[in-house]
Subunit: 457 residues, 2 copies
């Protein structure tokens, strides 16, 4: 039997979708300075919406970076308090030429909504807002539990401002647990809670050879080439099988429990299907002796994201660039510490420095890996709510991605986080043609309503 | 005693300089499609100028690429015919933020003219035009020898159109020798003829892993990374000392003669000064056992110019790019053949292909290395002309750069080329703050006038 809130939601889905499209049209790309006003516009739009649905104390909190949005409703005396977190910033849309439709003009195709941010995280964050609206509008402007909402605009660039806010104002975010919807379901129709995240360090290695760009004809053979230097360094960061060669890097790595590994083996995962449909490469890579799930959830990895510098246009320019940069990140797992991992990496890279090259190795941002216990009462309530909506038992997974805020909540607010996400593995997050499966948008809203009602007891 | 032509030139230098500035303001960047109309504008401007000074049969010759400009004056019966070659296209100006003034707004500082193309090759090419004007205007519209002028707009992108024109219409360029001013003097005040050029092959290695960009958190540890693949390949193209590791690559390399090597040792070359003032790196690199002049003039080399793909903006984007490209070129020396060198390279790179990666290895353009004998009569006449203007004996050098047209002239027109250039080693060609020393612009014009008068006998 559906609650009044669920009835309300169901009769308002077309409007909910229209509103989400409006939000997706705002190109709130947090890493690009030219989109600063768009990020602000998204924050203001959300604040107005939170006010409209009946949340209290709504505030756009200015920061030295992009703003935070806060709202609460704290009149459910004796009931638990949930801190709803989401982010309204998005990744850059490039490479633009691989999008089938415009990244900031949401369009429906085959039951999916395509746009940058559709699922990461505007669409998922907006499920929280619409669940709150359904509860407030169907029950005399009351919620079954206490709610605080905190939204950030810098998740895609490291989340520095919210991290500071959590650290400096834990009182304003006081809660019993947090709810984050920024993860995937393991498979279509399979209700999923994520109980582990990898951490990360994102770095840049700047390499400089000559003082200025030089002609490769005149100077080739005498002058250090920073791209070749970076190639020599990168080639020694991992062996050909994919094992990271940084001394000491694996020392703190803690294996998942035997139970956890056993549960992962029962998940519906077809490596060949994954390779063909999600990845599309001629073969998968990575550390020998570990399954794909272990490699992406529970092992540290290292990737290069781009190598700016030199000549990147069409055709030929015969230049020995003075400088080049490699954007290199590592994913971390329990119990690796970001600062220690960066120190190990920096020491190793410096030791690989070729003659004639100066290096500048910088940490751009970092986040700690985290594992949440499956036995706490919020996780338990979430599994009951999911069972009602999806009629299936929840599976517990980890994610290879990083949500540093979950670590901040644990560290500074002393609360666990329920990661109840409704993305799908083929949603193309951070890539062209990002999408959100619309059935998941709707059932996600219902799952959150059921979760909050479940917690009211 | 100065000839009438030299008197004419000297009284018109301010105007000559103003005209060159006008030409330099046209951003004729041949490699960038958005500058196509600028390249055409430069061709048309030069054709108008050749007509104005009294050259005959002036024509802008359309091609499938950028146009050629032709002109002649062939009424000096019984005298030799010189084919004056130059190029009016330029390299892209990036990185723009390292220019002290605008690249396409020529400006004089300390006796130099700063602009993209100032010396490579608009300024040097324009010396020919102004020498011809001085001779025509001071001697009843007559020249002391026969002249054909051919100018191209694709030198910086491989010169495909002029190569085809030389191959298909050798009759229209029939001459006894060619004059090219696109090289440097060995040192300030040291008249120099260049009698050797390196060849080159310019390639792109495209690497593809996954079918689309993927999130490095979700997929890191299972998916091939094309930047890491390219780094692994590049790191194996040269050893740490700078020796190219492509099997068979050095087999065809011919050493300079003992006389040539001995003459190079007498040139005023201070390796530490070169490192500090021209290069500015903490040390020089390259094959052990060879001097800097040998390494840059007479040894093959390999450089990476840029690695487009992935995320190159400011900040962090956590993407495993589907594809990445490395722009890699090799300089060749006698008797290496470009096609064979490319075949050796391609075979070797394909053998280095990491698992899970598809490679696409393309030859963008190529040119053959060349050496000109110092005993031919045009070289001899050039040394006499240079002695008159500079009052010093000419030094014979090679250049590490490539001027493929010199090989085309030898192969299809069966003529030698006199490479009489007036650039200086610190002119920053292909780099920010390109300049031309104005005294060399003026004395270059006088040297060419003397050269043509010398050849009239």
């Amino acid at each position: 039997m559906s609650s009044a809130a669920i009835e309300y939601a169901r009769s308002n889905y077309p409007r909910f979708l229209d509103e989400l499209k409006t939000l997706l049209r705002i190109p709130s790309v947090s890493t690009l300075p030219e989109h600063k006003s768009d990020v602000l516009a998204a924050a203001q739009w959300l604040a107005a919406e939170l006010t409209r649905i009946g949340m209290k104390n709504v505030e756009v909190i200015a920061t030295p970076g992009h703003p935070l949005v806060y709202a609460d409703w704290l009149n459910a005396t004796g009931k638990p308090t949930c801190l709803c977190y989401g982010h309204y910033d998005v990744q850059p849309p490039d490479p633009l030429d691989e999008w089938k439709s415009q990244p900031f003009e949401p369009i429906e195709r085959n039951g999916n909504l395509y746009a940058r941010g559709a699922v990461d995280d505007k669409g998922q964050m907006y499920m929280h807002v619409k669940a709150l609206e359904a509860l407030l509008k169907s029950c005399n402007s009351k919620l079954p539990i206490n709610i605080r909402v905190i939204l950030e605009g810098e998740e895609e660039v490291g989340g520095e401002q919210i991290a500071r806010f959590v650290r400096e104002h834990p009182d304003r975010l006081q809660a019993d647990f947090a709810l984050v919807s920024d993860t995937d379901m393991f498979a279509s129709e399979l209700p999923t809670l994520c109980v582990g995240l990898r951490g990360m360090i994102y770095t840049e290695i700047g390499a400089r050879g000559a003082k200025t760009d030089l002609h490769s004809g005149m100077y080739g053979g005498a002058v250090p080439n920073p791209f070749i230097a970076l190639a020599q360094i990168i080639a020694r960061l991992k062996d050909s099988a994919g094992r990271i060669l940084i001394p000491g890097f694996y020392d703190a790595v803690k294996s998942p429990s035997a139970d956890e590994l056993k549960a992962w083996q029962t998940l519906p995962f077809d490596e060949e299907h994954y390779r063909l449909t999600e990845v599309g490469s001629s073969r998968l890579t990575g550390e020998p002796g570990f399954s794909v799930l272990e490699r992406t959830w529970a092992r540290p990895t290292l990737d290069v994201h781009g190598m700016p510098g030199g000549f990147t246009g069409a055709g030929a320019k015969t230049v020995i660039p003075a400088k080049a940069v490699a954007k290199v990140s590592m994913r971390l797992v329990p119990d690796q510490k970001p600062q220690q991992a960066f120190a190990q990496y920096k020491t190793y890279v410096e030791a690989l420095k070729p003659d004639g090259i100066e290096l500048d190795i910088r940490l751009i941002h970092s986040g700690e890996a985290i594992v949440i216990g499956t036995d706490n009462l919020y996780i338990q309530a979430a599994t009951r709510a999911l069972k009602k909506v999806w009629n299936k038992d929840t599976v517990f997974i980890r994610s290879g991605g990083s949500i540093p805020i979950v670590g901040d909540f644990e560290r500074h607010l002393k609360i666990p986080t329920v990661m109840m996400g409704f993305g799908l593995p083929d949603d193309n997050i951070h890539a062209p043609n990002e999408k959100f499966h619309l059935a998941n948008f709707y059932r996600g809203i219902e799952s959150i309503i059921e979760f909050f009602e479940e917690l009211a007891g």
